[in-house]
Symmetry: C2
Subunit: 452 residues, 2 copies
């Protein structure tokens, strides 16, 4: 009897199946690396006091549709039901978080800091950087009534520290404040600041001339005013020097001044962080709901992927007029980052499996002895596996090598206290006391590095 049996005889053999595009699946050694990333991200989030949260994967349809965007949502229908779908898979972490906070508000303590490292699903056309099933890692801080500006500096600090420690190409973070843009446009006498923001947000994709053209033709903005908007967007500084540059334009507007002060605070707070961080006044973030600080980022050499980590401050997490829940959040597109790095084989782990030591099997009769040896190593938290069959040592060593295992352990079937260990990478072999031997520090954990 086989475990997975075809019901229909016309079923194609699974080996001939095509992969489902947009639903990436990593090999075990790749999953080990993804797990390393998830662990590092989670550790950093917890270090800054964020609590884990993992809302269910499904939301009622009206919740999913409440965000306003026409998302490619996957609806769930029961196989044996004619009823219409009432819920679907979430397409991000924010909508379920908002619903969760509203539903459980009485049991949460504010300001509430949570992280979510979870999968989301979008029924969209797959392409590089866009998947139909993907991991996202989000943090948000939500407060009642008002949220201190210090969180606007805390989030980029976390992200910059984290990316400096992850084995990825150079990460740069661009920060802006929507109040600067809106206030500046107001000062220029522009009435539809939202539409202006939307057009400026395209600068990266369509270039200066096209942006100017759109501002002039679509919004009927005077050419010199449009040029002034563009001039503002061209400001990019690695510190607070943007402040004077904007002031030099000579416009005075309360919203503008507030935005300038906020962004200056954020940039000054980050002055001790050694990382690529910029005040970039071209960043607008397309989404309507951002009201203050906004973040975008890129990976050197992978600019084509767009932003791999973005977010911003919003005025109210939930659509309730009586209660204000201002928040700030940032989201890491984990699958978007790993996809191309795996494809180009740029990530390398110190081993391909969790196994650190392979116990060579001397003979089938001594399997119990081999297992005892393995259990002794495991009792000191050394991931160990016994080779599955008695073969000559050369074959067992080559098998370990193929699996990327660092050490192979031999036992003497005539003396249960005699063991030797071989470092497969160096070829060095030495006797050990099986009851006390420990892995060298460098081999005790999975480590991942970026290849050039």
């Amino acid at each position: 009897m086989s475990l997975i049996k075809a019901k229909s005889k016309t079923r194609p053999p699974m080996a001939k199946r095509k992969k489902l595009s947009g639903f990436p699946e990593w090999l075990p050694e790749e999953k080990l690396i993804e797990q390393y990333f998830i662990d590092k991200i989670r550790q950093k989030f917890e270090l800054y006091g964020f609590s884990p949260l993992e809302p269910r994967s499904v939301e009622p349809l009206d919740v999913l549709l409440s965000k306003g965007d026409d998302k490619e949502i996957y609806l769930l229908n029961r196989l044996h039901s004619e009823k219409q779908a009432e819920f679907g898979l979430h397409f991000d972490m924010t909508v379920p978080f908002a619903r969760f906070v509203e539903q459980n508000r009485g049991q949460l303590i504010f300001p509430f800091k949570r992280y979510q490292i979870q999968k989301a699903w979008r029924g969209e056309r797959p392409q590089e950087g866009r998947y139909r099933e993907f991991y996202q890692a989000d943090i948000d801080v939500v407060a009642e009534n008002s949220l201190d500006i210090s969180y606007d500096a805390e989030l980029p600090r976390i992200i910059l520290e984290l990316f400096a420690e992850l084995p990825v190409p150079t990460f740069s973070l661009k920060i802006n404040n929507r109040k600067i843009l809106s206030g500046f446009y107001q000062a220029l006498g522009i009435t539809d600041t939202t539409a202006t923001l939307r057009i400026l947000d395209k600068l990266d994709k369509i270039g200066k001339d096209a942006v100017l053209k759109l501002l002039i033709e679509e919004l009927a903005i005077e050419p010199n005013i449009a040029q002034e908007c563009l001039n503002l967007a061209m400001i990019k500084t690695p510190d607070s020097s943007f402040y004077k540059k904007v002031k030099d334009f000579g416009y005075d507007n309360e919203l503008l001044n507030q935005g300038l002060d906020e962004l200056k605070f954020v940039m000054d707070s980050l002055s001790d962080v050694k990382a690529d961080v910029y005040a970039d006044l071209s960043i607008a973030r397309g989404l309507d709901y951002y009201t203050g600080t906004v973040f975008e980022s890129e990976l050197a050499g992978y600019e084509r992927l767009g932003s791999v980590c973005s977010g911003g401050r919003y005025e109210n997490l939930v659509g309730d007029d009586k209660l204000k829940l201002p928040g700030i959040g940032i989201s890491i597109g984990l699958t978007r980052i790993l996809g191309p790095l795996f494809k180009e084989k740029r990530l390398s782990a110190n081993r391909k499996t969790p196994i650190a030591v392979l116990v060579a099997l001397v003979s089938n009769e001594t399997k119990a002895q081999a297992n005892k040896t393995a259990n002794s190593l495991r009792s000191r938290n050394i991931p160990t596996e016994v080779y599955h069959k008695a073969q000559n040592y050369g074959k067992q060593i080559r098998a370990a090598e193929r699996k990327g295992i660092a050490y192979i352990c031999f036992y003497d079937p005539k003396d249960a206290n005699k063991h030797e260990i071989k470092d497969i990478r160096t070829g060095e072999q030495f006797p050990i006391d099986i009851n006390t031997w420990l892995l060298p520090e460098a081999d005790s954990k999975i480590t991942v590095s970026l290849l050039k």
Copy 2:
């Protein structure tokens, strides 16, 4: 602008929404505990050389239907598509694993040991122990052509060690071998051994008399033969003494003898493990595909949940006549275990958030100093949070207490080198050097204990 805005004005306020039954959601302090369980499980699996794998959440329909059971499958339909669903959410870890192995066989090294800790979905009627979205933690070993019997002993060893270390009520594991049952029935002259197995499998639920009745009436088995089947099923021993008891029946059958030898090997191999483990000859496991060793388990006081960890050996992972991929696997129903323990508030962690230290905020003007203090602690991996507003110390201490944070740190705004720390649980307060202070060992990690 709010982040989550209703499109329709008739939408009910989210706060009044009912929970979606069968889709459990834990509060942050519960999720922290779930994460603790997942980490422990994963660590144990990796210790025994299992590699992580996380196939996509969806499978083509014919793969989902190939297991033969009429599962309550959730199909995925795109919101903006009229097309019929082509795939659905997986309802277990085994079907996707089998498909993955068949599809990637060339890139895997056998015997292949993998673990999967993932969510699955079933559109079934929710009740205690049955969820529509749930976590499962599975391990399987799959080999080409033949799989050594030592894995039949390795899997229960892992599970017994693991459950002994998890904060759960007493866990007991029951092991049997289907060959014993089939061989015994053969020796009795019973022709339909599968139907007999199915009826005996109900012993737990319907009792002896009902089982006897079914055997006699449905399968037309002689009453004395039926009684003999029942006598076999009554054997339960904490060691290999089942062996002699079965031999004493006086039946001789090759399959029976093979099963007895295998189960004896497994029980003897586990003799050094201090845990509740039994050879229980009533265990049959309903599923057709198990061929040798089978496992079931229960948690003391939660027998009503049924088995929380089950599995067995199967002859072939995939339905291919040319290739044999025998395997053995075991699955932990994590959500099934945590659901009632959370409901009864029986699990307690040493803190309710990842935060170990709260830095008290002396005044709004010294927030930068507070952040610097926090960053110093974080640089030594101490999860730290700055209190969000300047209040009197009493209020800040009570807030920390409510959040289950162990320590609160005070700084002297007049002397940046002066810090004191208070253990909130004992009330003890002492000066520290902010550049070197470390958490005591007992507070350095999240720990979870079971309350009586």
